[in-house]
């Protein structure tokens, strides 16, 4: 039996209850919207990107605990990182929650994001964890269309 406490780690519960960086960035120069059509999870991501560095990042949205905590922890993790570093983090995160058995990422590189390791045992919830990251990728690529994890 998979253990619920592996999915709903304390870090996740806590970030869901009080999400960090939950606001609109008035002077953002990149925004992107993410939407999960099956769940109705929604986020809007605001970035201030300068010289390929994420100077500031914030989000607004609504959805399940996994999607909200993921957005909170993602924004905390990538703030101050370069585009390339953020993309590498996305790959590591994705491998951790949805990659093949051999793709298990080194938890060391992920820091607090390792709280989402339990998600891989709940395939229906992988999309929730990935939504904010897909949205980040869209924002970095300056995609104009809302992204969807479908």
């Amino acid at each position: 039996m998979t253990d619920l406490t592996e999915l709903y780690q304390q870090t996740i519960i806590e970030h869901n209850r009080s999400p960090r960086n939950f606001k609109k960035l008035e002077h953002a120069n990149r925004t992107a919207e993410g939407y999960n059509a099956i769940c109705g999870d929604k986020i809007t991501l605001y970035l201030r990107l300068e010289d390929d560095v994420i100077r500031e990042i914030a989000f607004q949205g609504s959805g399940c605990a996994i999607s909200q905590a993921s957005a909170s922890l993602m924004t905390s993790a990538v703030a101050g990182k370069t585009k390339v570093e953020a993309q590498a983090l996305f790959r590591a995160f994705h491998d951790m929650v949805a990659g093949g058995a051999d793709a298990a990422a080194d938890p060391g590189t992920l820091g607090k994001l390792a709280a989402f390791a339990g998600v891989r045992q709940f395939p229906a919830r992988v999309k929730c964890a990935n939504l904010s990251w897909h949205t980040l990728r869209a924002a970095l690529a300056a995609a104009a269309e809302p992204v969807s994890t479908e």
Partner: protein, 422 residues
């Protein structure tokens, strides 16, 4: 006040009608275990489980009777044709249609509605015309009408509902005008459980000569349906929600209506003669059944109808009313739970939200306890928007469910608090 609130049963002891308790054993899947616990299946509005009789009928067809229909002169094909047309007669009796040719086999409710929207819409809708639906429709009774309205320059209008999830009949009356060409209404709402006053809605439309399509997907598993008594022009259901197979459904249409409509799809079986210059079409129902039909599905659906016709529907109704009242009352005992959809007249479908916890988290947590419920918008996004919730959790009970199933759900909901605190 809802029925549920009025009749708050205090006894915890499950006492399913004896009829119902023995019927559980007819459904092999109900014996499954999930995460090491007995499955508590409360997602019947999404799809129902199948009795052994249905599973056997499908297997038997493929093992002993498989041949194409309406084509061969050999005896096997004649048998298959007789079984397929026999299923149509069962479907006629099930809906109490006048004639078997008024039953079109379709893939599902969705296809039934698309057939009418496209075929009726192409010939009856023009610029300035209106299609009237309700605020509680499933996407399958919204989108096909939007598509045809856009194509024909017509307008889609909506009958509003109140905070309980009941149609506002005065508002309905006000929206019936000489521009209204068809009314399309759900019989039982899949996200709110509301049972709509279909007879009344049909009578008011007919007073102005307007036809009515009824989406019966959620009604068929809960109550006997009589299309002549309802007097609706079209009625459509999905086999898989009424204990039959997926991939098969029925569309009932009054014969003169169906005869006046052009074909929906073209192909084999729906023609009288074909030349490159001109094709003449077969009579109904063949006109609307292009290509090889889902023969095994129709036979399986026929077996489901046979099964349902052996149930005592008075007992089923009493049992489901008890489940609705009992489960609603028990859910309201759980701190933070609020019901969405509190119509006075409801089927055993209960949508709810848990304060501060998203429905998907609720769904994942109760699944760990073996309880299967649906969470999300239930293909009724406008309903979610109306009630100001992103999603709901929904427990939908069939006649084979018991009070213990409701107890298991309530016990599982305690885990939600454990995980989320508060």
């Amino acid at each position: 006040m809802t029925t549920a609130h009025r009749a708050t049963p205090r006894t915890r002891a499950a006492r399913p009608a004896p009829e119902v308790a023995t019927r559980r054993a007819d459904f092999p899947l109900l014996a499954t275990r999930v995460h090491g616990r007995p499955l508590v299946y409360l997602d019947n509005a999404a799809t129902s489980q199948k009795p052994q009789a249905v599973i056997d009928a499908i297997t038997r067809y493929y093992e002993t009777a498989n041949a194409n229909v309406h084509r061969g002169v050999y005896s096997l094909s004649e048998h298959a044709t007789a079984a397929y047309e026999g299923a149509r007669e069962k479907a006629r009796a099930f809906l109490n249609a006048r004639e078997a040719r008024e039953i079109i086999f379709v893939r599902s409710t969705t296809e039934g509605i698309n057939l009418v929207a496209s075929s009726f819409g192409r010939t009856n809708l023009g610029p300035g015309d209106e299609v009237l639906i309700s605020a509680m429709e499933h996407h399958s009774n919204i989108v096909p009408w939007q598509l045809i309205c856009e194509e024909r320059g017509a307008t889609l209008r909506v009958i509003p509902m109140n905070q309980a999830g009941e149609l506002l009949l005065d508002e309905y009356e006000r929206r019936l005008t000489e521009r209204t060409k068809i009314v399309a209404l759900v019989h039982v709402s899949n996200s709110l459980g509301t049972i709509n006053p279909v007879r009344e809605v049909v009578a008011r439309a007919h007073a102005r000569g307007i036809p009515v399509l009824v989406d019966g997907a959620q009604a068929a598993p809960h109550m006997p349906v009589d299309v002549q008594a309802l007097d609706c022009d079209f009625y459509t259901v999905s086999g898989h929600k009424m204990f039959g197979p997926t991939g098969i459904g029925m569309l009932y249409g009054k014969a003169p209506r169906l005869e006046a409509m052009p074909p929906y799809q073209g192909g084999g079986d729906m023609i009288r003669s074909v030349t490159f210059a001109r094709t003449t079409f077969a009579e109904i129902p063949a006109k609307f059944e292009a290509g090889t039909p889902h023969i095994a599905g129709a036979i399986g659906l026929g077996a489901a109808i046979d099964y349902l016709s052996r149930l005592d529907w008075g007992l089923v109704a009493a049992h489901e009313a008890d489940l609705l009242a009992y489960a609603s009352a028990r859910l309201l005992e759980v701190p933070g739970v609020r019901l969405v959809g509190t119509a006075a007249h409801k089927a055993s479908v209960i949508s709810f939200v848990v304060a501060g916890v998203h429905a998907h988290d609720v769904g994942t947590i109760v699944d760990q306890e073996g309880v299967a419920i649906r969470t999300g918008h239930h293909c009724t996004q406008p309903v979610m928007e109306f009630f100001g919730v992103p999603a709901t959790a929904r427990a939908s009970f069939a006649f084979y469910n018991t009070r213990e199933d409701a107890d298991a759900l309530v016990a599982a909901l305690a885990k939600v608090r454990q995980v989320f605190g508060g």
